[in-house]
């Protein structure tokens, strides 16, 4: 499953980038995040409760923030599994300046398995889009608040 999205932030690419890779910000913004703990550098163990409509599930897994190129890009690797199934995804996040603002482009690929993939595939694209939108909406707030704070 291909996942893509573009999000515009107020602020400089370097500031936006710094927030995007900040584990505290990630922990706050991952939808339904219940716990987020570092396991060595760049890798975190997370528990998330994610759902859409009556379908809810708890996933346990890891989030890795790799190939960090400050102010430019990083690679995000995500793995989670729970009773409804599992998700494995990998994406590249690029941060570029555009007309005084910062544009964040996400492109990735995800595999969803288990029962959720079996019966839910027609809706997975939309569901992941909604979750990612929610994530970046939250990040936008983080960036805004750091700007106010600084």
């Amino acid at each position: 499953m291909q996942v893509t999205g573009s999000y515009t932030f107020d602020g400089l690419p370097s500031d936006v980038w710094a927030v995007l890779v900040d584990p505290d910000a990630v922990a706050d913004c991952v939808p339904g995040c219940k716990s987020f703990k570092a396991m060595g550098s760049d890798k975190y163990r997370a528990i998330m409760a994610i759902g859409i409509a009556s379908v809810k599930g708890q996933y346990e897994g890891t989030v890795s923030i790799l190939d960090q190129r400050p102010g430019e890009s990083f690679r995000l690797v995500l793995e989670g599994s729970g009773t409804p199934g599992f998700v494995r995804g990998e994406g590249v996040v690029n941060v570029v300046e555009k007309g005084g603002k910062t544009q964040v482009d996400v492109t990735g690929d995800a595999e969803v398995g288990g029962i959720i993939g079996r019966v839910g595939h027609r809706i997975l694209g939309r569901a992941s889009k909604l979750l990612i939108d929610e994530y970046f909406k939250c990040m936008r707030k983080k960036v805004a608040s750091t700007r106010v704070g600084s």
């Binding site: 499953m1 009773t83 595999e111 398995g113 079996r118 595939h121 027609r122």
Partner: protein
């Protein structure tokens, strides 16, 4: 002297089934029953790094959780049935429980047993399995290429099995050809989807050292043999019994990991254990078809086929199960269909993929190959500018050439391959539809009319041991008859049909005949129901057994009637000397007298075992014609007419024949129009539930115009040719040919089946790109 044979008789099986009084595995509950649920792989290809069963085992009510470690030394991998002349690699037999690695989504990893099904189901969610994903290969063409990820590293190739059959001078044929047709055809991976999924109950008797497995199966004797090969425990006797079975279509002629697990658990726990499959499990348990074929046909300007070459890839999935090699064998050997083709070279290669294992499905290789040949016939017609019917007429084996042996070594015993086509053309109003098509094309608007023809032949019997059948016939002192058959019916109406056969031989009524089946202890050897063998082989054995019983009775009656045994007639439940029906004695009286002379021991009455051995497959032939309308704006297809004519030999029960034809066509249309087990690149099922896998619905079915031709085969005492699988052979390609014909007016090539609206629309709207 046939009174009941040939009659339209209601099925005696139906009343209990339709009134909810059937007895399926789900209805059975021996005392002390435990319930099993399955933990299955969610990955298509991965190493298992850890299995943690502690939490599940700690749950109250949970009795056992087994993984592959428990089976070590006691239960081997599932065996597969080889085929003469075929090569296949070792080391890919299906493990009962995944050993360190999984090869497809749905593979059995662990089994949880508990006091109730709900507890077992709750406990499955507590078993934790960690996986390390491996590269996945799920496309046969990719899998066959060098450098593809390997399903079995230790084997070193995905090319697991191959069969090559050839005959005649193919080089000469291509050298003198006016044209060469070069085409590629694909038949999708399908789910056989029987109405009742799989399921079994295992119970072990430690005193008798007997393992009893009640199972929804097509052949208990076959399962018994497979269990014997798999188990390495001091079990002396396996008994396999089939209660009512809700369809199988080939899918229930394997021993599955779940069945073997149940036997192991019953042995270990000393209590009966039951498992009944859910539909979502059935959808990924085992599949069929999944063929890609490259065809080259050498033809002359008159449309004659001079030579035929085919290279097929067959999707075997990740492991062999019992019948995995069957479709490969059938597809290659029976590629050439009902045609005179002097030279051929056919190779079929079985390929491993990270998908569920495969096996035969109604037709078992024949639909796979018929699809290629019948598409080719239409392409030849277009090439040489002839009507598709005319091309077939020129190539069909004429009755005068029968018996005929194909270049691949198949012997067609007898019959008339042209007669069904001639009749189908009449019934379809073929010429009128061609006129309608010409008008539609001239107007160049609206829906596109397409006409598709398929002619084919289909073997009945199977091969090897399945050519032999025993029927134990008991005549009770009361004059009732019991026929014990090794054939294992699961929807075919065998009880009705065999009772008609025995009744006619013995001059009694079908109501006097009981037909018993579904117990490997009942008849000492057997094979089951598959390969259209039930009537041709098992029905013939019933005929032989009933005839032998009659001979015994005739001897006894002759003394009473004061005539020679040859002069004794059996009719209307009476026995008399030929010519003097007025001075008869009742059948029951003869039965009672004969019983008095019978050996002590066994059942009361007389008992004989009739054995029938089919020398070689017997072939039926058929012609289907589909007329369709394609909506070019949406890609939707609608039937305007559907005709099927089958030469199945004489019919014992025409109603059952028609039922088989309707069901077979439904499955064939499903294959043509909707069914496909589609997967993502990662090997995750996309059509893994019936909300996405399009089984045909009643409203999808056209009205079927059906007739038979009835040439008598010399191969068996009934003269029959089999009907169970035949309709599924012709239907998919009749439809594909019709849609291809409709699209040809736009210069568009028909896409691969299933011809879903989107595929057809894409073909139309992306033609040329």
């Amino acid at each position: 002297m046939t009174t009941y044979t040939g009659q339209w008789m209601l099925r005696r099986e139906d009343t209990p089934l339709l009134t909810g009084n059937g007895s399926f595995i789900e209805d059975m509950a021996p005392p002390g029953l435990l319930h099993a649920t399955a933990l299955r792989s969610v990955y298509a290809h991965a190493l298992i790094t850890r299995i943690d069963t502690t939490a599940a085992l700690a749950m109250p009510g949970v009795v056992s959780v087994i993984t592959s470690d428990d089976l070590e030394g006691s239960v081997g991998d599932l065996s597969t049935v080889g085929r003469p002349g075929m090569e296949w690699v070792e080391g890919a037999n299906h493990p009962v429980l995944a050993r360190g690695k999984v090869g497809y989504v749905g593979q059995l990893v662990a089994v949880v047993v508990a006091e109730s099904l709900s507890i077992a189901r709750d406990a499955v969610d507590l078993v934790r399995v960690d996986y390390e994903p491996l590269p996945v290969v799920m496309d046969i063409t990719e899998a066959a290429k060098d450098g593809s990820p390997l399903v079995h590293e230790h084997i070193g190739t995905n090319l697991g099995a191959s069969l090559r059959v050839a005959g005649g001078d193919l080089d000469a044929a291509f050298a003198r050809a006016d044209h060469v047709i070069d085409e590629h055809f694909e038949v999708p991976r399908l789910s056989p989807a029987p109405l009742e999924g799989r399921g079994a109950i295992a119970q072990y008797d430690p005193e008798q050292r007997t393992m009893t497995l009640w199972m929804t199966t097509q052949g208990g004797h076959h399962i018994k043999e497979l269990l014997e090969e798999t188990f390495n425990l001091p079990i002396e006797h396996f008994r396999v019994m089939a209660p009512d079975v809700g369809g199988g279509f080939g899918m229930k002629h394997h021993l599955y990991p779940e069945d073997a697990s149940l036997c192991y658990l019953a042995y270990k726990l000393g209590r009966p254990v039951k498992w009944v499959e859910e539909r979502m499990e059935n959808m990924v348990a085992s599949h069929a078809r999944g063929f890609a074929t490259h065809v080259q046909a050498a033809i002359d300007n008159e449309g004659h086929i001079l030579g035929f070459r085919a290279r097929q890839l067959a999707d075997m999935g990740a492991y062999y199960i019992a019948g995995t090699l069957t479709p490969i064998n059938v597809a290659a050997r029976r590629m050439l269909g009902p045609y005179l083709i002097d030279a051929a070279d056919i190779e079929c290669v079985g390929v491993f993929t990270n998908l569920p294992p495969t096996g035969p499905f109604r037709g078992a290789g024949q639909p796979e190959s018929t699809f290629c040949v019948e598409r080719t016939m239409d392409i030849i017609a277009a090439k040489v500018g002839l009507d598709p019917v005319e091309v077939r007429r020129r190539n069909l084996v004429p009755p005068s050439a029968l018996p005929y042996t194909t270049a691949t070594g198949m012997r067609y015993d007898s019959g008339d391959f042209i007669a069904p086509m001639n009749r189908a053309i009449e019934l379809a109003d073929y010429d009128r539809w061609r006129d309608a098509q010409r008008m539609q094309r001239a107007e160049n608007k609206g829906k596109l009319i397409g006409i598709g023809v398929a002619t084919a032949c289909k073997a009945a019997g199977g091969g090897g041991a399945s050519f032999t059948s025993d029927a134990r016939v008991v005549v009770t002192p009361q004059g009732k008859v019991k026929v014990y058959t090794e054939v294992s019916p699961h929807g075919q109406g065998i009880e009705t049909v065999f009772s008609q056969i025995a009744a006619d031989v013995l001059g009694i009524t079908p109501a006097d005949v009981q037909v018993l089946h579904g117990d490997s202890d009942m008849v000492f050897r057997g094979q089951g129901t598959f390969a259209s063998r039930s009537l041709t082989v098992g029905g013939s054995a019933t005929h032989v057994g009933a005839t032998e019983a009659r001979n015994v009775l005739a001897g006894v009656a002759a003394q009473k009637l004061g005539c020679a045994p040859e002069e004794v007639e059996f009719k209307d439940s009476k026995v008399y000397k030929r010519g003097t029906p007025g001075q008869s004695i009742s059948f029951a009286e003869v039965a009672a007298a004969a019983s008095a002379t019978a050996q002590p021991g066994g059942e009361p009455g007389i008992e004989v075992t009739g054995t029938f051995v089919l020398e070689d497959n017997v072939f039926s032939s058929m012609a289907h014609i589909a007329v369709v309308e394609v909506d070019p704006d949406t890609g939707c297809i609608r039937f305007l007419r559907y005709v099927a004519v089958h030469d199945c030999g004489p019919m014992v029960n025409p109603m059952i024949v028609e039922g088989q034809v309707h069901g077979g066509i439904a499955q064939g249309l499903g294959e043509a129009l909707g069914e496909v087990m589609a997967y993502t690149r990662e090997g995750q099922p996309l059509t893994g539930s019936l909300m996405d896998y399009h089984l045909p619905l009643a409203e999808d079915m056209p009205e079927i115009i059906f007739e038979t031709v009835n040439t008598v085969s010399p191969m068996n005492p009934l003269g029959v040719r089999g009907i169970g699988e035949a309709p599924t052979v012709a239907a998919p390609v009749a439809v594909a040919n019709a849609v291809a014909d409709a699209l040809s007016s736009l210069g568009v090539r028909v896409p691969n089946i299933p011809l879903t609206p989107m595929r057809v629309w894409n073909a139309i709207h992306h033609a040329g790109s």
